[in-house]
């Protein structure tokens, strides 16, 4: 039994159909628990008041925005190397989710930034990097939409994803070089540095888990949609040829 079996669309559809309900329930539970805990059961931070609680959306969304791109990079590579169609479709399915996560991170960041730094937007390296990431997502999705032939679209978007990843890293470095920013350093690393107290940290972990689950659920759901869209396309082509 190998992982590649799931590259078969039929196998993928069967398995994902079984897994999805479980995932959905888990996602709802995890997100509800994490957000309720974070919003209502944590003390207000000394200097920032209740504004700090937006962290429970901002940080998980930002993490997922980056991880979605990483997932697209991996699935693109799998498509280029092994030409599994589900892989290409999963990359396509993940892009709008990643775009939304980026947007959520940018917007919640702006809302949070106003009381914290006194401005909605600053050309801080991290903010700027996310704006660039947002552009990358837009370009990637637009390229998928623009090309008719699905295989050609999968190939070209995969190449764009590879090259884009390299340039996204370069941009991150360039932007750091360009402006040292306002953000605090890695206050949320998993080895739990003391920057964020446990009382905030634990619900945040639950929220991150919830967002991860949400992402997986949405991507599975959207991949199923893409697979069905391809099936419709196949049926129409067959009809036309008959």
């Amino acid at each position: 039994m190998s992982l590649w079996e799931y590259a078969n669309p039929q196998k993928f559809m069967r398995t994902s159909q079984m897994v999805l309900p479980v995932l959905t329930v888990l996602t709802v539970l995890c997100l509800t628990a994490g957000l309720l805990w974070g919003f209502f059961l944590t003390p207000e931070a000394v200097n920032f008041g209740s504004t700090v609680k937006i962290i429970y959306i901002h940080v998980p969304a930002a993490l997922m925005a980056i991880n979605a791109w990483l997932m697209m990079l991996v699935t693109s590579l799998i498509w280029l190397v092994r030409r599994h169609h589900v892989s290409a479709l999963a990359a396509r399915a993940a892009a709008p989710v990643g775009l939304t996560m980026t947007l959520i991170a940018l917007i919640t960041g702006a809302i949070w930034g106003q009381p914290m730094w006194g401005t909605y937007w600053a050309w801080d390296p991290r903010l700027t990097s996310f704006l660039i990431l947002f552009l990358f997502y837009l370009g990637y999705i637009a390229l998928w939409e623009a090309i008719e032939n699905p295989d050609a679209a999968a190939d070209l978007t995969s190449v764009l994803c590879l090259v884009g990843s390299v340039f996204a890293l370069l941009s991150r470095y360039a932007v750091n070089f360009w402006n040292q920013g306002l953000h605090q350093g890695a206050s949320l690393s998993l080895d739990k540095e003391e920057n964020v107290a446990d009382v905030f940290y634990l619900p945040l972990l639950v929220c991150i888990a919830g967002f991860v689950l949400l992402f997986i659920t949405l991507v599975l759901l959207r991949t199923r949609t893409e697979v069905r869209a391809r099936r419709v396309r196949a049926l129409i082509t067959r009809e036309r040829m008959a």
Binding site: I147, V159, V175
Partner: protein, 218 residues
């Protein structure tokens, strides 16, 4: 390969080739900025490096879709793909031709326009040097974007959307080195990074672009 470069150059110089289009656009941008920003020479001096680099970048962007689109439409690209020259070399030569007709004239014109924007005297040398080092990367990255969108009917806007985020590092290092140079600070780091970016683009992107063209031709 030299034949390809020669052909592209003579095509762009002859009627309808679009030579000078980027240059004219660059001129317009830099002339319009003072009208929008105001005539205070201090302000202009401050923003001159950025305006000049952004102007050069946009001027470059303007002619990108011509790199492959014309050859795609008249069938030459099919024929070039079956020719003995590797497609990677075709891409590199076409990017080079784009640079000679766009990046190089922009680099040469930049000091003249910098006078209009009151760039500090110390910045002129760095402006030319940074454009000389950075514009080849703009052409090469643009050629990659053009290769991705060559099969599309109206790929122009999409091309800009794809290429703009890829241009960010080049723009940052380029403008930063002029800014530092104009203020008399050390420019070695951004210039080296810019040169590295250009070399890496020229070394690697032809392969990605050629792969994209092969997909678009089939």
């Amino acid at each position: 390969m030299i034949a390809l470069l020669k052909r592209d150059l003579s095509l762009s110089i002859r009627a309808g080739g679009g030579f000078g289009l980027g240059l004219a656009f660059f001129l317009i941008v830099t002339i319009l900025v003072p009208f929008g920003v105001g005539p205070q020479s201090d302000t202009l001096r401050l923003i001159a490096p950025g305006i000049l680099w952004v102007g050069a970048l946009l001027a470059c962007l303007l002619s990108l879709d011509r790199i492959f689109a014309l050859d795609y439409e008249d069938g030459s690209l099919d024929l070039l793909a079956t020719a003995p020259i590797p497609l990677e070399a075709v891409v590199a030569m076409k990017a080079l031709a784009h640079w000679v007709t766009t990046g190089l004239p922009l680099t040469l014109a930049a000091p003249v326009l910098a006078v209009l924007l009151n760039l500090q005297g110390a910045g002129f040398g760095w402006l030319v040097l940074s454009l000389l080092l950075g514009t080849p990367a703009l052409s090469m990255i643009g050629a990659f974007g053009a290769a991705l969108t060559v099969g599309l009917k109206r790929g122009g806007l999409l091309l800009s959307l794809l290429v703009l985020p890829l241009y960010v590092p080049t723009l940052i290092f380029g403008a930063e080195s002029v800014r530092r140079g104009a203020q008399g600070m050390a420019t070695t780091t951004p210039l080296l990074l810019l040169a590295g970016l250009t070399l890496a683009s020229v070394a690697l992107l032809p392969f990605a672009a050629a792969a994209a063209i092969r997909v678009n031709l089939r």
